[in-house]
């Protein structure tokens, strides 16, 4: 009997491995190979894109000791955390509302709609709203909140708002998919045990929705920390996000080894935070599984 079960489990493993193979092969090819190539490139001592040979960590040393790049990395991480927390705070109620009640299909449609727009269109849309001749200024001027147009574009604040707006749908969808699976009866049970709305929210909804919030936050964080078009176009002359430096080195200066080092440092930081998020996510999941038992 035991042997039979073991064999059954074994054949199930083979079956699952078979299902996984195409995806694993694809990921190996399209992700691992380029990353391995990037690692190799980052270890060349030269400052160019051709005649590369030898081994050196000189580019990593520069990236990790120079104030310009370290400062930018710190600021980029901080901006990404701000955007992540912001989208979590804004995205949770939206995701919750979208998961409950009627017309869910339409709600999903409107949440996903902004993602179908090209990022560039989105950015130029923001320029039209926030510019000195833009919508926001004309409204503020007409209600006399301003005497003369103010420049809302080209600053850190604007970059964070636009990043948050662009990536908010990922947070909403992630929260939504988890909240849909929470039995509304649990909320009613909480109410019947005299839990008021706040207690229900804090002790029932948030803990159960936590994995969704953490997953959404991870996605938003990774997208934000690697953003470069938005800071480049909306940031103007003053915002220095890390991915912009990567782009500069790879595409303009053609110093591929240094660009590769910067991009791998960014990758490690992003993955590091993703791991931290995962730990946070699984820690608060425990009470839930205890309840389930």
């Amino acid at each position: 009997m035991g042997q039979f079960l073991r064999r059954l489990a074994w054949s199930r493993d083979i079956y699952l491995a078979g299902l996984l193979t195409p995806a694993v092969v694809a990921v190996m090819l399209i992700l691992s190979v380029p990353i391995a190539w990037l690692v190799r490139i980052s270890l060349y001592p030269q400052d160019q894109s051709y005649d590369l040979s030898g081994w050196s960590a000189v580019h990593y040393i520069k990236a990790l000791t120079d104030d310009l790049y370290l400062g930018s990395l710190a600021r980029t991480t901080l901006y990404s955390l701000i955007v992540t927390v912001g989208t979590a705070i804004l995205g949770f109620p939206l995701g919750y509302a979208a998961a409950r009640g009627r017309l869910r299909r339409w709600k999903i449609f409107f949440i996903v709609l902004p993602l179908t727009l090209s990022l560039i269109v989105n950015i130029f849309g923001w320029i039209m709203i926030l510019g000195q001749n833009g919508l926001l200024n004309s409204v503020l001027l007409s209600v006399h909140l301003l005497d003369q147009p103010r420049q809302f574009l080209f600053g850190v604040g604007t970059v964070l708002v636009v990043l948050g707006h662009t990536y908010l749908p990922f947070q909403i969808l992630s929260v939504m998919s988890v909240v849909t699976q929470i039995e509304p009866m649990l909320e009613e049970a909480s109410a019947s045990l005299r839990g008021n709305r706040w207690v229900t929210f804090r002790r029932v909804i948030i803990p159960l929705a936590w994995p969704g919030i953490v997953a959404g936050s991870t996605i938003v964080f990774i997208l934000t920390i690697s953003a470069f078009i938005i800071p480049q176009l909306i940031g103007g002359a003053s915002v220095q996000m890390y991915a912009v430096f990567v782009f500069q080195q790879m595409m303009t200066v053609l110093n591929w080894p240094f660009g590769a080092s910067l991009s791998l440092i960014l990758l490690v930081v992003a993955l590091g935070f993703a791991t931290v998020f995962r730990t946070i996510g699984s820690r608060t999941e425990e009470p839930k599984s205890a309840v389930a038992k």
Partner: protein, 350 residues
């Protein structure tokens, strides 16, 4: 005997003339050959299709595929596909041309391969057959006539307090920013080896900056919407804005005109060398040069082009005299030092 001979001659002449006279009887020279070239996207690619791809299709049966994108990304793609080239002809600018030549990515061509090469302005052919220029663009001053009371005459005039928050410039990621910085330095006692005076002027302009970008599309948009009132920008693009009714004017800055050439280069290892050479010959022809000047106002590189009076004054650079007066740019120095300039900009300008 002589009659017999004449008969043979006649037959020979007929045999030679016949296939050329009747196109349907013979295949075109490169029928079925496809070549891949990187492009820019937008209007410029439309002009290239009209003035280069179509004639090549009609005359030789060559199909040209233009892949839009940036010159830098095409260079990266070409560099990583050397054993099986992604492009047959690579369009490069002054900087990528040097890098591609040094990297051994491209093959030198001669006037025997590309006859139109002899018609190009000699000082527009810095690396001989490695890169043939097909248009010239210059970074000039543009200002909004409705908002700017004292029109800027020099690049350094963008520091005028009247323009606070209304100036947009190219940063050093754009070649336009690089040549402007060199102009600022040279006009103020510096040189390409000593850019300190240029950076000093940039710092004077900095408080006026709304943005410093590398994106021509963004600059175009901001000028069009009146978000910025003055900038250094490609004169061809400003002309396009003027045609659309934007109240803009172009000024040749006191610091002199500097700019950038766009080249075509033959990619080493291309499997369609013959067709690629035909493409290079067509794109450097007077016909294509004129078409580019007419529609996007970039300067012709073919000396035999005469521009119609309507656009003769608007296209920069144009004419032997103006082209001879443009100071040369030491692009090797630019390639060697740009990384440090960009880093300096990143430290000082933000």
């Amino acid at each position: 005997m002589s009659l017999f001979r004449i008969g043979i001659y006649l037959a020979a002449i007929c045999a030679l003339a016949l296939p050329q006279g009747s196109a349907f009887a013979q295949q075109k020279e490169f029928e079925g050959t496809k070549i891949v070239v990187n492009g820019f996207g937008g209007n410029l690619d439309d002009v290239l299709v009209e003035s280069v791809s179509k004639p090549l299709k009609d005359q030789y049966g060559i199909t040209v595929e233009i892949v839009p994108g940036s010159v830098a990304s095409a260079y990266a793609k070409a560099m990583t596909s050397r054993s099986n080239p992604a492009f047959d002809v690579l369009i490069t600018d002054d900087i990528t041309l040097r890098a591609a030549t040094k990297a051994g990515l491209i093959e030198e061509v001669s006037a025997a391969d590309v006859p139109n090469m002899t018609q190009l302005y000699p000082n527009f052919v810095p690396l001989g057959g490695y890169g043939l220029p097909f248009f010239a663009s210059v970074c000039a001053l543009a200002y909004n006539k409705e908002h700017v009371k004292t029109p800027p005459q020099a690049l350094s005039d963008l520091a005028n307090p009247e323009l606070k928050g209304r100036v947009g410039i190219f940063n050093l990621e754009s070649v336009g920013g690089v040549v402007s910085l060199i102009s600022l330095a040279e006009a103020n006692g510096g040189s390409i080896q000593n850019l300190d005076p240029g950076f000093a002027k940039l710092k004077e302009i900095a408080p006026n900056l709304a943005t410093a970008t590398s994106s021509p599309v963004e600059m175009y948009n901001l000028l069009q919407r009146g978000e910025i009132w003055a900038s250094w920008f490609w004169s061809g693009r400003v002309n396009a804005l003027i045609d659309q009714g934007a109240p803009l004017a172009i000024v040749v800055p006191k610091e002199k005109l500097r700019g950038n050439l766009d080249f075509v280069s033959l990619v080493k290892g291309t499997k369609s060398r013959g067709a690629a050479l035909k493409f290079m010959n067509q794109i450097t022809s007077a016909q294509a040069s004129l078409a580019i000047a007419r529609s996007v106002y970039f300067g012709p590189t073919n000396q035999t082009v005469t521009l119609p009076s309507g656009i003769e004054k608007r296209v920069l650079p144009y004419g032997a005299e103006m082209i001879a007066s443009m100071p040369p740019v030491d692009w090797d120095a630019v390639v060697a030092k740009r990384a440090s300039w960009i880093e300096r900009w990143n430290r000082e300008m933000r």
